[in-house]
Symmetry: C2
């Protein structure tokens, strides 16, 4: 299902980057950083909550608004029952709705926030995501035990908090349209291999978005998926080519752009709900503001598994939601 939006803008954004991200290729482009997984807190979760809260405070400072000026906040993370988002929302006292579509939550939030702004009483909506490598290793990436070896097609969850403000006030980055995706499951059962599992969902939403908008792939200066990783990126291209006869040129996956890929620890690249937005906010939006890129299609992908579904030996249902950004 594709929605067209009128006069909805990404007004401002902020990223607080953690280990592996802050000293990678995007180094120096973030609003704030932390260099270890505790950042002086007692638990990984408290660290993640702190960074999310910090990120939203940085965003509010940038736009000279107070918490009370924000009409609603959408937030998502990978922890069970959205532990991180819930506790950050409690501290911030901003009207809050939790979203869970795994790493596709970012674009789901942008679609919902853009719709909410259609209401005349709504003026400022924040969309946030949070990721922390070790909170997600603990709760999400079953059956990984700490320190166990991983295959090289596994991705490495991005530790970062991201936030952006959507408004009706004209700004350089417009949200032009969005497509809400369906869930696809082609039978991949290996929970390390999320790239292979998610690539078909990304391709299906991409194709639906093109058809519904009556455009082809060349309409976009750039198409970015996130987070398929090195191998998932290739599968996505192949799927688009073989199933939909689309030969992609102006495309890559954000998972391969956020880390120093020479570091073997990051394996097939980044993942997590903050992977795509941390890349988009720190690298793509500045380029759009400089008129280097005009139209971008973001395809955020989510692997909708849980430790319980993996233990039940289920395959991995996956989803992708699309958002088109335009520099004006």
């Amino acid at each position: 299902m594709t929605l067209k939006f009128n006069n909805i803008y990404i007004n401002e954004s902020a990223v607080v980057a953690g280990p592996y991200l802050y000293n990678g290729p995007l180094s120096g482009k973030f609003d704030d950083c932390y260099s270890d997984f505790y950042d002086k807190e007692k638990t990984f979760e408290d660290c993640e909550i702190k960074e999310l809260e910090k990120c939203i405070k940085i965003l509010l400072k940038k736009i000279s608004l107070y918490n009370k000026d924000i009409d609603a906040m959408f937030s998502s993370d990978l922890t069970n029952q959205l532990y991180i988002s819930n506790f950050a929302a409690e501290k911030l006292k901003i009207p809050y709705i939790g979203i869970y579509n795994a790493c596709a939550s970012f674009t789901a939030e942008l679609i919902l926030a853009s719709s909410l702004l259609n209401n005349k009483d709504i003026n400022n909506v924040i969309c946030t995501t949070s990721g922390h490598n070790l909170t997600s290793e603990r709760q999400f990436r079953s059956p990984v035990e700490y320190g166990s070896p991983k295959p090289d097609y596994s991705t490495f969850t991005v530790s970062a908090a991201t936030a952006c403000l959507l408004t009706k006030t004209k700004s350089p980055i417009k949200i032009e349209s969005g497509t809400i995706g369906k869930v696809y499951d082609l039978g991949v059962k290996d929970s390390f291999d999320m790239g292979s599992a998610m690539a078909p969902a990304a391709a299906e939403t991409f194709y639906e978005h093109l058809i519904n908008n009556d455009i082809d792939e060349n309409y976009y200066d750039l198409i970015i998926t996130g987070d398929l990783g090195v191998y998932g990126e290739e599968i996505f291209k192949k799927y688009c080519n073989e199933i939909f006869n689309i030969d992609l040129k102006n495309y890559y996956d954000s998972a391969t752009k956020v880390y120093d890929m020479n570091n073997k620890k990051v394996l097939a690249g980044g993942s997590g709900p903050s992977c795509l937005p941390s890349y988009v906010f720190s690298y793509i939006i500045p380029k759009m503001k400089n008129k280097e890129i005009k139209r971008v299609l973001l395809l955020a992908t989510g692997a909708l598994l849980s430790t319980t579904s993996v233990n039940h030996k289920k395959s991995i249902p996956c989803i992708c939601h699309a958002i088109c950004l335009e520099a004006i």
Copy 2:
């Protein structure tokens, strides 16, 4: 934050009720029932997925629509990473966004669906919730082990799938307004005592909804919270009285209405994301259609804890979102 909606309606609804609910005081008012926690499936989760899928199919049959006619579906449940919603969405192939605000998800979904329907391309949106006593005991109600005794102020998760269709086509039940709540945490740490934890969040959202609409409590024929339970209901009334000087007459909590309260197993009453909607769809909406009740305020409450936050000895952040239904 309060939103006013124009021409948004609950077109039709469906409930599939499980053990304790189907043979309680609402017996005979449901669309379908199952009498044991497996219902011929191998796991509790497979049972819950089956009932959710069945419920949506019943809804689609009632409204003579096919899956492809539905523009979007919001779904929520209590399992980690929304296991149930994700797998049901995969089977249904309806554009899907997962929501998590614990037992407040129902009204959050109605607010989001109503907003989405402001878009001219959107005509049919489904809001669903799913609950299963034993999947939530396993993943959510830490530190409860199977068979361990529980205090009498504990609630008993409702096993049911619920679904409703929101449209712009005129129907007897109108969604008039909604309030997105903030997160409140007054320091309750006992994860059995969710009623006490959630009551203040319910009262705060209730008061904000009245102020923003410039009305008093008598504007509504009926005010229903869900799911505070026997004790939380009393705390809510006391909080409203002492903090906001509101003396509630036309109010009760749905947790106390869904079970045979003489059954000691159900303790302080029902809970879970399906508690309030299963009551509203099976009992309140028929009364509204019969013109016995005109205006109802629904205050769905959510306890935003997780097993990890409980193990970290955190207190319980809570939220409540309000929805006003009007019979026309």
